[in-house]
Subunit: 358 residues, 2 copies
DNA sequence: CTGAAAGCGCTAACAA
DNA sequence: TTGTTAGCGCTTTCAG
């Protein structure tokens, strides 16, 4: 190696087929040599340890800059240090909620110099008998599980057993099987949100409100039921569905054929889309003969016809919050006590109105 | 907190705040001791190296199983070995395409024992002056860029310069700025797909077809234009838009107000949803006065009202293909020459019909 | 066919 | 305040 400056990949390309190895990284030793200090001092500077006199510090920093030094996170992690990586564990990133939560997670991770390792729960592999260690970059790696279905909730629990401190289930609060109030769980106040939406529908004059619910979200159900009870209304059986368009369509089918059903609370915008289709096929006019309120306020809500009345939920903020909580539990910083996400907000659009006249 | 029942966290929790270290992993040395061989032999077995007599092999394997040994990938990578990790680089996982591609990637990665590192391009950080090394787990890490917009395309190009072998742009072929025919790029035959969709619309009797296009997808535009030209039809200016619902709605606005526009080819289902809304606001009936064909066949296509005529594209397969290609380029296996994804397919639903009578 | 030695890049512990 | 010694878990030489 002669000059500096080159970094990139000069002659290397021709290495011939297999795993081209990059031009020997600049290591701490290199920096140390240039700065005329020991590797240890470079380490201290690199990690912002106290007790390095300003003069040397500057010298080391200069050498780092000159050489384009970047610490090798693998080596750092190997000695028990921090890989500076969060593992996001989930079963699907396609649903709006999951995608947004992930985005929030990634954003704050990056802001703090963390990288994101993404692990998917295998759909086939059953129950808790998953090999979680295989899902992690290394044992003990901090993970945030983005919990929104049975598989992810089970995973959150199982992980707790293996890794006491480092797991946080974003969106988990209010899910069956996730201990409520656990300090490693983060989620919206689903009970209040559902109650509010239900009251809104009641206020429009509906006799009662039906619920197309994700069976996992017990707090939503509780909020819905109690709002009904408080108003002395009958509580119809909740109808279970997954949080997908198709599932919504199928689950809604019997409901929309029942003229008694005039107001419907849906688990998500995706579900509501399916409901809209089912209603149309059953000849139900929305909102003329059927009102719909959903949750999420994803980008589709605004453009559907009719546009969806829905509760806007800040999943991105939730993702950010999950990361903060994780760092905090890892002993990083003090608790970030400012509220992390925007308050939920019922956005009234076109799918809601008074019940049909009898 | 007193009770039992709460399972989890045995004695470990009390370690006191910071990074609880898990109960010392079992290492190669441990296995070696139990098997009565040297660590080196364990390594050989672990990596399937030849030249280990069957008897020892079995013994080592038994010891591994007994101890629950898992190789430490960080240590392995540190010595120049393979981290067994793919980095997916993209700007957003929310769009259906990106989400599905990612899924495919993750699926085949897992099947081969790889993990996935997810890196997001920073929206703010401009141009190619991004610090790509910072986006990678370690220098030289193999990455698949899921390219679908300017930022990702730029990233794909920039990465090439740094890492000759290991990048593959899924979905990149046919994007401006990605060298066509490059053997590190994988994508659908967008030209043919767009031409087919255009011909379909022409066949319905439309005088011409307008195009709400992602300006990056030149091959789509080429296919569309040439289908028009082949049929001796006028080629109207393509209207640019991003691949989002809102962008579709805005971009479609002038188009749907123009009665001359009777057929519209849209960049994605998301865009088409926005178009549907714009059409509705302009009082255009779909498909009565305006026909729409989109691309993707995402879950929403089927449930929109009217249901979307769209070209189904197998992004999941694309993701799988990208991973295979990557492995192959890394010198892994032979080329997987079986086609990796399902052929595109025009699914005719409810947004298409003959043009309005004049 | 198997083992021993050396070292990847880093940090904890101790010494100076 | 700084340097030295060790060693994380693994793989690559090179010997036996």
């Amino acid at each position: 190696m002669t000059d500096g400056l080159d970094d990139e990949t000069p002659a290397l390309t021709r290495t011939g087929g297999a795993a081209v190895r990059t031009a020997r990284r600049v290591s701490m030793a290199d920096v140390a040599r240039v700065a005329g200090v020991s590797a240890q001092t470079v380490s201290r500077v690199s990690n912002g340890h106290p007790g390095v006199v300003e003069a040397t510090r500057t010298r080391v920093l200069a050498a780092m800059a000159e050489l384009g030094y970047r610490p090798n996170r693998l080596a750092r992690a190997l000695v028990g240090g921090d890989l500076r990586t969060v593992t996001a564990l989930t079963s699907d990133t396609a649903p709006y909620r999951a995608a947004e939560t992930l985005r929030g997670l990634v954003a704050s991770a990056r802001d703090t110099g963390y990288s994101l390792w993404l692990s998917f729960l295998d759909e086939e592999t059953t129950t808790e008998e998953t090999d979680f260690t295989a899902l992690l970059p290394h044992p003990g790696a901090p993970v945030v599980v983005i919990a929104h279905d049975e598989a992810t909730v089970a995973a959150a629990r199982a992980l707790r057993r293996i890794q006491p401190v480092s797991t946080v289930a974003a969106g988990g609060r209010g899910l069956v099987g996730v201990p409520d109030g656990a300090d490693w769980v983060l989620g919206f106040d689903e009970r209040a949100d559902a109650a509010e939406a239900t009251r809104f529908l009641l206020g429009l004059g509906h006799e009662t409100v039906h619920h197309l619910a994700n069976p996992l979200r017990i707090h939503r159900m509780a909020g819905w039921a109690s709002a009904l009870l408080d108003a002395n209304r009958p509580v119809p059986p909740a109808v279970g569905c997954a949080s997908t368009v198709q599932s919504g369509r199928e689950a809604a089918d019997p409901l929309v054929r029942d003229p008694e059903v005039t107001a419907l609370l849906c688990d998500s915008d995706e579900v509501a889309l399916g409901v809209l289709r089912a209603a149309r096929e059953a000849g139900r006019d929305v909102p003329g003969s059927l009102s719909i309120v959903a949750f999420d306020d994803s980008p589709i809500a605004d453009c559907l016809i009719p546009a969806l009345t829905t509760v806007a939920l800040d999943y991105r903020g939730l993702g950010r919050g999950a990361f903060e909580l994780l760092r905090q539990r890892l002993g990083g910083d003090a608790a970030p006590d400012a509220p992390v996400w925007k308050a939920p907000r019922l956005i009234v659009r076109e799918t809601t109105g008074p019940p049909p006249r009898r």
